[in-house]
């Protein structure tokens, strides 16, 4: 019984989490506690999970957990055993492939017809004369809005499905006990794929650190997760092309890795609020048993959630872009945010750090700045600073970090972004 299992006091899943053989759900029953413990004994795992009893508890509770999950997830089919679930999952996956494929074909069909449709709407239906600023602006708007939203929906659907596998708990299992260097790179990469919202930064930080994820590795994750995500990348790709998106991805990951390495190298564990390390590694909640049906539903929910939240910003951004496209002279801002103004990058970073917006909210501003001739590096540095660092996040992190560590964190990430800004301006 799950409740009894939780009350039994064994941090069972600490052992399971740190047991490399137990990463997959089904292999979990195999218990390799002793081998695992030889490698990297986490305090809590040694204390209670080292006994054969704990292994027994693990396997028993796992069985119950599976049955319980099956009941919870499919109350309409109560009574079915857990062995039935995988068969059902396969059948459902088969039944889902066809509609999904049809939807993708329809998506592609629509996507390839957006440009002629926008032209037809502008010049035939609305009757705007071709070659005028008004016509160009309206055509740009009518083409870009559906294009960006369709690309965003596709990317978010894919990432939503991937994220049903890459949960924060899974990421923590992968990162626990890693060395700083490999760990930092891995953490930054996983930060892109793992679902994350900056309001859960603190529980995540505590969960990572108490499970034996090194501090620097944890910071790599905390920098990469909000800054380099699928929404930012999809929007940059759709609006500015794959080069900008790829550069953002590469430099964003580099900033995250370097920041994590620096913080790890400085051995700043002593600047974490002491009560954090006093916490015991809590038992990890049983992983969810998801069928492909569930995963697809997660993907669809993600699309509804993200596109529902983001579309006003996209429309506003493209409207700004369209206005500039048609009217404002392109080098309007070039004099003070252009490539030659060396001081504009640090200024953009300094202004961006306290501001808070997500990747979508900043897009209208980015469109406006770029459209008016600001240098790409300066604008992207501004964007990164706004997304990666913010006053609200600093206030939240203050609960677990001392002021000194926050200062180091902000300084390291800010300097990294500064370097990115200059690099972009040099390269492009």
């Amino acid at each position: 019984m799950p409740a009894a299992w939780l009350k039994s006091g064994y941090p069972v899943s600490v052992a399971a989490r740190r047991n490399p053989g137990a990463r997959g759900g089904r292999r979990r029953r195999r218990c390799a506690c002793p081998r695992r413990l030889r490698r990297e004994p986490p305090v809590s795992a040694v204390r209670s999970a080292g006994s054969p009893q704990a292994c027994l508890v693990l396997s028993i509770s796992w069985d119950h957990e599976m049955t319980a999950q099956a009941q919870v997830g499919r109350a309409d089919e109560a009574g079915r055993g857990s062995s039935d679930t995988s068969l059902r999952a396969r059948a459902v996956a088969g039944g889902r492939v066809v509609p999904l494929a049809l939807a993708l074909v329809a998506w592609w069909f629509l996507y390839t017809r957006l440009a002629p449709a926008a032209a037809w709407l502008t010049f035939v239906l609305l009757g705007l004369p071709a070659g005028t600023p008004a016509g160009a602006a309206v055509e740009f708007f009518l083409y870009e809005v559906p294009k960006v939203l369709m690309l965003l929906a596709l990317v978010v659907l894919g990432v939503g499905i991937v994220r049903s596998f890459v949960t924060p708990a899974w990421t923590r299992r992968v990162l626990a006990g890693r060395r700083e260097r490999a760990g930092a790179v891995l953490a930054a990469l996983l930060g892109v794929a793992t679902p994350f919202c900056s309001c859960s930064a603190v529980p995540l930080f505590i969960g990572f650190v108490t499970a034996g994820v090194p501090l620097g590795v944890t910071f790599s994750f905390l920098v990469a997760a909000p800054m380099v995500n699928e929404v930012a990348l999809a929007l940059l790709f759709a609006l500015f092309g794959w080069r900008v998106a790829a550069l953002y991805l590469a430099t964003g990951l580099t900033v995250a890795v370097v920041a994590g390495l620096v913080i790890g190298h400085l051995r700043l564990e002593r600047w974490v609020e002491p009560w954090v390390y006093g916490l015991q590694g809590a038992a990890e909640p049983a992983p969810e048993r998801l069928t492909w049906d569930d995963r697809l539903r997660r993907g669809r929910e993600a699309v509804a959630d993200v596109v529902g939240r983001v579309w006003p910003y996209v429309v506003a951004g493209i409207a700004v872009g369209a206005g500039i496209h048609g009217y404002v002279p392109r080098d309007f801002m070039a004099s003070f945010m252009g490539r030659d103004a060396w001081w504009s990058v640090p200024l953009a970073v300094l202004i961006g750090i306290p501001l808070y917006a997500n990747a979508a909210g900043i897009i209208p501003v980015v469109m406006a700045l770029l459209g008016k001739g600001a240098a790409l590096g300066t604008v992207l540095a501004f964007m990164m600073a706004v997304i990666a660092l913010s006053l609200p996040e600093i206030v939240i992190l203050r609960k677990v970090l001392t002021k000194r560590l926050i200062a180091v964190f902000v300084a390291v990430v800010g300097l990294g972004i500064l370097a990115v800004g200059y690099l972009f301006n040099l390269l492009l």
Binding site: A3, A68, C197, V202, L204, P285, K399
Partner: protein, 83 residues
């Protein structure tokens, strides 16, 4: 039924709290709904992503808001005697 909504007070956490309230009202069952906002308490439940929903001490959803049907099923499933 003991239902806890774990969250540090962000928009989604408040949304989840509202959804849980509605689900309980619909199910017509007696349930206590509490908000857990203390970070230490949240971490002690092994939750890495907020908002999270805990039913009788068991984490049933973390980092997302379960759909109305899912929550109804959770409340129903809980009424059956455990194994």
């Amino acid at each position: 039924v003991q239902i806890e909504v774990l969250g540090t007070g962000c928009r989604k956490c408040q949304l989840l709290y509202g959804e849980a309230e509605k689900a309980i009202a619909r199910s017509g069952r007696a349930a206590t709904l509490t908000k857990v906002q203390d970070v230490g308490q949240i971490a002690a439940r092994g939750v890495l992503a907020t908002p999270a929903l805990v039913v009788d001490g068991r984490v049933v959803a973390a980092g997302r808001i379960p759909s109305a049907e899912e929550m109804a099923a959770l409340l129903q499933a809980d009424a059956e005697p455990g194994p």
